[in-house]
């Protein structure tokens, strides 16, 4: 069963790019945590003239980022972010990486320590097709983009949009902007949480300190 989580890099990164780029002002200092091959940073640097930095775990990703002229360090995001001083950045981006973190709650706090704002996008496990898959098959969904079985996936902490909003509340994090993205890539308001959590394939949030 093919469930579209909208984090399929080839086809869906454009949505992430555009939506995230729209949230970041010209010339901002930006850190992309888990920046992959640097595509988003490269885009932001060219389109928004940002001061771009990245952290990436895979040596291949770092190599490709370096070849784009980006400043990217190889390392574990949860460890490396600790070594940045407070307020080092205007925006810290965590794009489709939250679910791979050892402690998603701690990383959110770290994002907002080193950055004034955080932009976080994540696949929504409350999406109706995921729910249906689990209900009908009784098995964890495996998709094109999330193509590994539950015991081998780096995505160890899935959440729904509602879970994410609850966590932000618990951590006293201010949600400045929030939206869900449906399978066609259109923005959906989260005014009606039940609908957003059912039809959104991913959540996209701008967070700030309270």
């Amino acid at each position: 069963m093919d469930i579209d989580h909208n984090n399929h890099r080839e086809s869906d990164i454009r949505i992430d790019l555009l939506l995230i780029a729209n949230m970041i002002p010209e010339g901002a200092r930006v850190l992309d945590v888990g920046c992959g091959d640097g595509e988003l940073l490269d885009y932001l640097r060219k389109e928004k003239k940002v001061d771009a930095r990245g952290i990436e775990l895979s040596p291949e990703g770092v190599k490709e980022s370096v070849a784009k002229g980006l400043s990217v360090i190889q390392g574990n995001a949860e460890e490396e972010i600790k070594h940045f001083p407070d307020d080092s950045f205007d925006y810290v981006i965590l794009s489709q990486t939250l679910q791979a973190m050892d402690r998603p709650d701690k990383i959110l706090e770290e994002l907002l320590r080193v950055g004034k704002r955080a932009v976080v996008s994540f696949p929504n496990f409350g999406y109706w097709r995921v729910r249906l898959h689990l209900m009908l098959k009784g098995k964890m969904p495996v998709t094109k983009s999330l193509d590994r079985p539950w015991y081998r996936t780096p995505n160890i902490h899935f959440c729904t949009i509602r879970d994410f909003v609850d966590l932000c509340g618990e951590l006293n994090i201010k949600i400045e902007k929030g939206m869900a993205v449906d399978s066609s890539g259109s923005k959906m308001s989260i005014k009606y949480m039940m609908l957003a959590n059912l039809f959104g394939t991913q959540g996209l949030y701008v967070l700030a300190r309270n």
């Binding site: 640097r45 070849a67 400043s71 990217v72 490396e80 080092s88």
Partner: protein, 382 residues
């Protein structure tokens, strides 16, 4: 310059020894002055009109200026033939590449083996103790001599990387990018300890003669050879020693119950030691190991590595190797974190290679790609 001459410079390079500081003595870290002093270098490629395409390559402890092409002293191929050259990561079609023999060494630059102009005899231990910062000061003078205002990049492995970091910290306004490879930000107690073993081996050799062996028939070859053997172990990983030699015996079927080189690894180390003494001066070994032991880039900044790099405009690309236990990934991470804390532009890659510290001198396509990508991306004016 005609195109034929240009092509020769791109392919084969140009070697020279220049005398500097005749009217302007070089102030050393020790407070002493050196004047005049010689810098032996080799260059490849052609310096462009606005002198903006120069890359300085810094050699390691016992390296020399012959990074590419035949070394006239040893007859052997240079030490970085796959990195420097036309179409290679440091592209001599594009860049003017300079490699200098460091101060204190023995391939033509001023050092203990060279003639002291004050006495007309070899310096020996009268040569002042130098530091990595002093090596770099001498390189700065050479760059001045070329009329180069700002280097496009400074790059080097091991002790070469230490020079790279001194360039960035002491002369940051004259460097655009810096690539320290398999290096460190200060010598650790363990690093100093290994070097001390080497120095003691040299000084315990009766032929050393308190450094005044140049006028004698014999040289402290036994001591220097042992120093090299001890150091060479630190350049390799346990795994590479084991996979290369294991417990294999050397040209024999069984143990001899004596102290001959029964094992291949012994024979290999002895060979490393013996072949080294033909190309390196024992006193130079003392001076250069001392320079690396004195090396601590944070020392001038109250021990704060972050302060050392505060406000730097240099772009860094730092490379370490998983199996390097001499200058570890951990130490490189400390450097990277300090650079990040200082707000510097820094990239960092740890290359998975099991050959130990010397990986940077070996065939490592991953390293080649990163150097090439970093230099190329920057030259596009990003």
């Amino acid at each position: 310059m005609d195109t034929e001459k240009q092509q020769i410079q791109v392919d084969e390079g140009f070697a020279e020894v220049v005398t500097l500081g005749e009217n302007d003595p070089l102030l050393l870290s020790s407070g002493e002055f050196l004047s005049p002093f010689k810098v032996a270098y080799k260059s490849w490629g052609v310096l462009n009109k606005d002198k903006s395409n120069a890359i300085l390559v810094c050699h390691a402890l016992t390296g020399d200026q012959y990074a590419r092409g035949k070394n006239p002293l040893t007859g052997k191929e240079g030490w970085w033939p796959k990195v420097i050259g036309p179409g290679l990561p440091i592209d001599t079609n594009k860049f003017f590449v300079i490699c200098t023999n460091v101060l204190g060494s023995c391939s033509g630059s001023s050092g203990p083996m060279e003639i002291n102009p004050a006495t007309n005899k070899p310096y020996g231990l009268d040569f002042p103790v130098i530091t990595i910062a002093d090596m770099v000061s001498a390189q700065v003078r050479l760059i001045d001599h070329f009329g180069i205002d700002k280097l496009y990049s400074v790059i080097g492995g091991s002790m070469g990387g230490m020079q790279v970091l001194h360039w960035a910290v002491d002369h940051g306004e004259r460097v655009k990018t810096a690539i320290p490879i398999a290096s460190t930000w200060r010598h650790s107690a363990q690093n100093i300890a290994f070097h001390e073993v080497g120095r003691q081996a040299i000084m315990a050799d009766p032929n050393w003669q308190s450094g005044r062996y140049y006028e004698k028939e014999t040289r402290p070859h036994a001591g220097l050879s042992v120093a090299r053997m001890a150091a060479h172990i630190t350049y390799m990983s346990e795994r590479s020693l084991m996979s290369k030699f294991g417990r294999n015996l050397q040209d024999r079927e069984k143990l001899t119950f004596g102290f001959d080189a029964d094992f291949q690894v012994e024979s290999y180390l002895r060979y490393q030691g013996i072949s080294f003494v033909d190309r390196f001066d024992a006193n130079s070994y003392l001076y250069i190991t001392r320079a690396t032991d004195y090396y601590d880039i944070s020392a001038r900044f109250g021990g704060s590595l972050t302060k050392a790099f505060e406000g730097t405009a240099v772009r860094f690309c730092i490379i370490s190797f998983t199996s390097d236990w001499l200058y570890t990934t951990q130490e490189n991470r400390e450097l990277v974190r300090a650079l990040n804390a200082a707000g510097a532009q820094v990239s960092f890659v740890e290359i998975d290679m099991d050959k130990g510290h010397d990986s940077f001198l070996l065939d490592c396509p991953e390293m080649f790609n990163i150097i090439e990508g970093f230099l190329a991306a920057d030259s596009e004016g990003t």
